[in-house]
Amino acid sequence: MATLAASPFSIEEFLLEEREKDLLRFSTAGSVDDGKSTLIGRLLYDTQSVYEDQVRSIEGKGTTAPGQLDFALLTDGLRAEREQGITIDVAYRYFSTARRKFIIADTPGHEQYTRNMATGASTADAAIVLIDASKGVQIQSRRHAYIASLLRVRHVLVAVNKMDLIGYDEATFRAIVKDFTAILDQIAVDTGTPVETNFIPVSALKGDNIVHHTAAMPWYEGPSILELLESLPSAADTRTSPLRFPVQRVLRPDHTFRGFAGQIASGTVRPGDILTALPSGRTAKVERIVTWDGDLEEAIAPLSVTLVLDREIDVSRGDLLVSTETQATVARDLKAALVWMDQRPLDPARKYLLKHTSQTVPATLRAINHRTDLASLSHQPAATLQMNDIGSVTLNLLRPIAVDRYAENRATGAFILIDAETNATVAAGMIRSAVDISAGDDNEGEAWGRVTAGEREARWGHRGGALALTGPAALIDAIERSLFAAGVVTCRIDTGDPVFADDAKLVELVTRVEMQSGLLALVVRNENTDHLTARVEAAEIHVESDDVMHAISTVHQLLHNAGIFISAEGAGL
């Protein structure tokens, strides 16, 4: 508190200074012995962010030399980890300097806790990755850097720690910088997200280059860890990004007021702006931006506000209000990177719920595209994803939702998966591409060409095909309805229709076009018989027409056997 004593302390000035502070969130990760807890303890202690009673409670304890504080004890929380001597979960720490406030998500480096690292990184603007200078680059540091890049943490500070143990040797530091830079380049290729990086040689134990510069490494002229943290840009400036406003709640205190409450995910909103509600596509003009403190003339992300629109359009919780010029993708089919976080592995037979912004939708796994091996950064085929695995999957949603790619928008590109039975949060997801249901295009950029059969199958859950039905009209209607109910996109060709006039060539031509478009063509001939004949390719069956349910299930089975449905579930079986 020397600075306070030197100049008379003015609380008014302090409060003005306090008011001007912004907020930087960063995550830390490190292996058990990297000295991460020591580094954070040192940051807190050297910025005078530790209370005296907390310092008193650790004096004379720990594993450091007599008279030296064991800074790691300042941050170790729970009993279990005190017993094991390791950090086992995400812990949040707070400190501030004269310039800004900081929130640290302190995450463990132990391999089995990758999920916690991803948790900490999900809200971080920056990440500190630790490397033990006496050991060189270990797999953990690679894992941390990969997760930081995958979760789009914009800035990585690589703290090369324990420089005191190697005699503050510059050559060793340079070698580590070279090794790790090569790894970071490889990671950026895989995740598609290059990160800005700084390397800082430090000793957390001695306090070198943590807060203050050190005389021990005159060859290093860069900033200390704290100087960097103070100068990095804070929360991404999204003022000029397209507006994204997920509706959390409709406020209707009385019949005169209807407002949509939410937190702006990106962009700027002003009265007069024309917005589109997704997925409905209706548009309306912003009339007011309502807050308890009065109406605003402008609001930016991430403020929580309430929007009043100029006309009644159907908007409810889960809808996304977006700028009309730059809309989000309304999709049921997503390709996403997943970090698997549950003991129970990913299982295509289990039911999962996808939570995205303010809505939750049942999701079906269509494919596991690959698993990423973090040691080699290679993609491997995988039948499942285990706890702490990272992979790429294709998901199909029961209802369409409005999304962006995670690379473009962290808020509208992220989701979590919840196991519908256990209610556990099982995965973190980052959307890589989404198939727009209206345009049928793929905003990944690779599929501006012709729509493929595979894409049609992914959309509709079945292949194109032709089902010939001959029998009583009422039964054929019931079968068509049952297929419709199961989500099959059918197109009916009544051969008795004057258009076709029993023109076999025309029927065949239309059937082929429908099949190529991925539809199930129903080639129907009404006959007043006591049985129904159904044929798919070479397979033909006959069923009595008096048992409707039996006839329906037999026809579904026929289609399933012919491989028309992608899954048994899709067949309604």
Partner: protein, 318 residues
Amino acid sequence: MPVAATEVNPRSTSSFLKDPRRLSHLRLLEAESIHILREVASEFERPVMLYSIGKDSSVMLRLAQKAFYPAPIPFPLLHIDTGFKFREMLEFRDNMAREIGAELLVWRNEPAIAADTNPIALDTKRCCGLLKTQALLDGLRHYNFDAAFGGARRDEEKSRAKERIYSFRDGAGQWDPKNQRPELWNLYNARIHPGESIRVFPLSNWTELDVWHYIHEEDIPVVDLYFAKERPMYVRGEMLLPIEQSFVARPGEKPQMVKSRLRSLGCSPCTGAIRSDADTIPAIIAELISFRSSERANRVIDHDQEGSMEIKKREGYF
């Protein structure tokens, strides 16, 4: 700019720092807390706000007003009354609920209060267990609440640093620190089975200084006991014990008038006062930054044993 029929509050312009691309940390924290309040109100069937009358509760209540404005707060407030709360606190509570038009519920462990449960006859741990933890669990069960907001902050105590924003509790209201759901981005998993519940901490990321600074900026009313005043106290070494519950006095102890205030509002027998001249919010903040001792240090209960807060939380305490 002529904006008809809308009033722009000067405070709203203080959202922005001198650099208009940056928002102040308080505005960011406020936005995050409001998002949480709205999520819970929308995803749970029977949420409730635990209202403890202290400064954190006062901030949380203001944030709830903001979150749903111009609609009323869509859930009731619940106060767990141990019977040992300061008279000023109870008056403040009732006035506040009336003024903002909130529904206030009060729950007491009446059998334990009738049996004269107190921290001298028992120890503080068992007293807290009956009058706070048990009362809280009973109250939540009685009204069948499935989500309860609490004003706890992660910077208060080491075991709180790991607490999630949505803190999952089993059917018995207990917390398992090893089995918490990962919490990513601002996507909170609100799914629970029947009988289970969550505690929600919208102020998780606020520090003690943030809370006071926000109270100052927003003119939020707080209980008078926070402000320094001449008050009768039993003086025991460095400890100042309010005379509200005379039975805490040891033989021969006489109350003295001491200019003092409370840093945190607990039960009168277990909350020590501090000597202070801080009679305004800025003075309290000035005292806070010069007096570096964490605020729970003068709550007697945390000193029972190493890690006692964690044990209480496992059992169902906030």
